[in-house]
Subunit: 345 residues, 2 copies
DNA sequence: ATGAAAGCGCTAACAT
DNA sequence: ATGTTAGCGCTTTCAT
């Protein structure tokens, strides 16, 4: 019952000032649910202005049962792909009068659990969730009855809503692009093996190789963290063995780590190693060389995610979005085509 | 009074189940403010487990007057420097049991106002604020009595708390580093002229030049957005005139835009243009070439920001942090020293 | 069209 | 050590 803030004007004072009941003040503020006579409305508005009244969102949330808040749970907001998604989600949510509670788990599964519990206690109206793990805390969320949209793939048998691109297809498409360049020795730097998205991306890579009749060499699967350092370390390791001619890095950060490691050995892309990556952002487009990358339609996905939370019906809808293979210079295309429009102008 | 969620267990049910009063349930949950007999405590805990009770954070916030939430207002969460700061802030805040409400204004001043109003209505316990503009909405925040820490410099006469590095010093130091390399023709790519941080960074640059007896050429001040595209455009413009030998880019994104533009003209750093930038992140360390950059102690600053909100006393404390000039390859140092430890291992 | 009042689920002061 | 209850500031139903 401690009130840390300065005195706050309440609805009662406004009502007194306007000479009405508190209910009418609510009707004016909320534009409903009942009509208010024009004269009364004006008196109320004047009283609001005069008193400097500001509705208390917490009290409103308690009474109305909606916090007008979504929770966003992500592994790490410092990942540019994720922060670009967060940006789009916030824009979208705010257009609907809602704000995002940021839950950044710092790539830590225990922390992720704490955050989800915390956000659920806060009665968020919905959760937008990317787990650090292949076993997201779905039960917990469903038990609370909170609408939830997953932003990655989950075990098919889980009855959850999800939004994603088909990552296996995308990985296959990216790898196939390298094959079309004529490369036959194609390695992959991927995330932790147990994660579903890692598995999808590996299997897409494998599929493309098999379709082209190329050998799948297990020693050319470099599993590491989805970080720059991970890509760097994996590449160092790769450089210690027989060097492939091309590489599929399963996220943008790994690709950057890879380029750095290459450069420390006097190597570069696409000259010594052709490179494509997954989930590129503006960074890929501006990098030198620009990165050929699988692009997810972040803005559209954000729109859909918010829409799904708004229209929540408890059914486990799954939406799949088309990805785009954005051609940059890292795969060697730039030396093949001379007249390509620049990415960045 | 709509309850969108499934039935939620309340404290009353727990009390009934445990055969105690509701107050005791609170005391158990909150570990106070009054002691509870061990036996009772255990009965309550058992009842909580059995019923699946979860405290309602909103009701708690209304009754206690604290939402255990901070608002974070930033120009754009997709900016890597900002998202790394957001990451650190969230970690720090959560250690204190609080969560961040993300207010991403999308570089739009009107949106920023809406967001601040929204967050204030939500009764956030504090605000961490970086404005898109030189005139932040301080009055509004102060009128609400909400603790607030600014993360950039504000007009000195404003009585607000702020945390920052001395940007003029940092800019001067960065520029001086270029001068120490022997470069005499040093340009600057900066942000919008009216912003205080732009002015600080320009004046630091200017000061360093003057101290070295070098000419300050107004045509070598390229004002643009703090974005990759901005850096790109400014560099294109620069390339149309007489090319300087060195450049100070006033944020990391501009630096990347610059490198891209250079590359499209067959030029590169540090060979054709030595480059240092402001507010580098891990991206600078991993880029090829790695970027020489002013680094802010993001983690410490986040710690301090949260601490200031916790210990709020209404006084306009200002904290200045030491920056670090992180040496990379973009300024030419790499060719001078051969034995430098790698940045990224 | 408006007023009165019953919650929303909790905290904590006031009882015992 | 524990029970009872008055708020917290709002939404909305039930009256009028």
């Amino acid at each position: 019952m401690t009130k840390p803030h300065v005195h706050r004007v309440t609805r009662a004072e406004v009502a007194k000032e306007a000479g009405t009941s508190v209910a009418v003040v609510s009707y004016v503020i909320n534009n409903g649910p009942r009509p208010v006579a024009q004269a009364t409305r004006e008196r109320v508005l004047a009283a609001i202005k005069k008193t400097g009244y500001r509705p208390n969102g917490i009290a409103r949330a308690l009474a109305s049962g909606t916090t007008r808040t979504y929770g966003l749970v992500v592994p790490n907001i410092a990942n540019p792909f994720i922060s670009s998604m967060a940006h789009a989600l916030q824009q979208e949510a705010f257009a609907d009068g809602r704000v995002l509670l940021l839950g950044d788990s710092g790539d830590d599964r225990a922390r992720e659990l704490e955050l989800i519990n915390n956000l659920l206690h806060r009665q968020v109206d919905g959760l937008i969730y990317t787990s650090v793990d292949r076993h997201p805390y779905i039960d917990l969320i469903q038990a609370s009855g909170t609408p939830c949209v997953m932003l990655d793939r989950v075990e098919p048998e889980l009855n959850v809503c999800s939004i994603q691109v088909n990552e296996q297809h995308a990985a296959r498409r990216a790898t196939r692009h390298l094959i079309e360049h004529g490369y036959r020795d194609i390695a992959i730097i991927c995330g932790p093996q147990e994660m579903l998205n890692t598995q999808d991306r590996i299997s897409g890579w494998r599929l493309a190789l098999e379709e082209a009749g190329l050998a799948v060499r297990p020693e050319w699967i470099f599993s590491t963290d989805y970080t720059r350092q991970g890509g760097y370390d994996a590449t160092k390791q790769m450089l210690a063995g027989e060097l492939p001619r091309a590489l599929f890095a399963t996220n943008e950060q790994q690709a950057f780590g890879c380029l750095r490691a290459l450069s420390e050995h006097g190597l570069s892309a696409p000259k010594d190693l052709a490179l494509v990556c997954f989930n590129g952002t503006l960074e890929s487009a501006f990098n030198v060389p620009s990165l050929t990358t699988v692009r997810q339609p972040v803005t559209q996905m954000a729109k859909k995610a918010v829409e799904m939370l708004k229209k929540w019906d408890g059914q486990p809808h799954k939406y799949e979005f088309d990805f785009e293979l954005e051609i940059g210079g890292s795969c060697g295309c730039r030396s093949l085509t001379t007249s390509r429009k620049s990415q960045v102008t």
